[in-house]
Symmetry: C7
Subunit: 70 residues, 7 copies
């Protein structure tokens, strides 16, 4: 995860939610802070969050966006 800081990530969240944005920070519970995060629910865009804290226990996976992974 360390190499992913300040990189674009895709995050799948329980309840058919997906967030894509820049990973600003995370902790051991996988609580995530994203910047400029696009939110999709059931495949439909719900909106943009300039900054968002996603609670870790909802996270299914975190994946660096293609071109941004190392």
């Amino acid at each position: 995860m360390k190499n992913t800081i300040e990189k674009n990530v895709l995050v799948d969240v329980k309840g058919n939610r997906t967030y894509s944005g820049v990973l600003e920070g995370y902790d051991v519970y996988l609580n995530l802070v994203l910047k400029n995060a696009n939110e999709m629910i059931n495949g439909e865009v719900r909106g943009m969050h300039n900054r968002i804290l996603v609670r870790g226990d909802n996270v299914i996976f975190v994946s660096p966006s293609k071109g941004d992974e190392q």
Copy 2:
């Protein structure tokens, strides 16, 4: 989160609940205290809470309202 104290936040909660209000406090479990919180369930306004403590394990995300994030 520290910068978000006394700022407006949007909180998504399991069970299709959304709370928007002023963040008064939080702890490590993401228990949140909101002031002047508007409550929506399934997209419909349920009411206002002058003050409300939301138990952290229900929280999906916390996002500063636009114009209030840093």
Copy 3:
């Protein structure tokens, strides 16, 4: 929460349950003891409890009743 002791609170609980009564006590897990608590399930009154201990992990929120918050 400290200021809410002996005040009227509204408590939303998972499973479409709502309890309103006087908060007698609570602990760090948000286990709550209410006095003269009115119980509603799916919006219908189920009954009154002179005293009730609600297990914290079921709690969604605790909100002081209007006029009783500080």
Copy 4:
């Protein structure tokens, strides 16, 4: 809860279960031991348990029966 030992209690449990009986003991997880407990599932009597240990994480609330609370 201490005052409730040896008193009649009503216990709501996840999965539409209700137990009413004499509270013999409990622990910090709200594991409960009841004596002469009547079991109802979905509002129908399932049977009597001379003694029953209910695992705490299933408990929604414990309430002293009217006339037995202090």
Copy 5:
């Protein structure tokens, strides 16, 4: 529970499962070891287990069989 060792017990388990057999052992999580355990799912007999370890977090209750409780 100590008095229930080597006694017949009825165990209700999440997912409409019921096990009845001789309690050989248990631990603080309510992990249970049963001997000669009869398994029912949705009220239908599924089979017998000479020995079975039931993981505690699935347990709803443990009740000594009538005639075997103390």
Copy 6:
């Protein structure tokens, strides 16, 4: 469980999954390592795993296969 190492076991897992194979190891969370494990989902064979690590929190029960229990 100690006597069950290197014995055949039947494991019921949440989500209507069943694994039967040789128990190679386990830990306190009931994480299990099985060898030559047959996997069934909803009563249908899905396949064989030469080796499989089942995460403990999904386990409902572990039972030695008949003839292999002690």
Copy 7:
């Protein structure tokens, strides 16, 4: 699991998700890092992840791919 590092694994995840890729790392919670991971949801290919961190509490099992287990 140690022998599985840098090997191909199949991972079943709650919500009918399956990931197959090279196991780069894991921790005690069974958080997994996979490389070149193929993602399937409900039996349909969703896509490829060059790298993906799967949160452990979603994992049902990890199984080395045939030919890669030891």
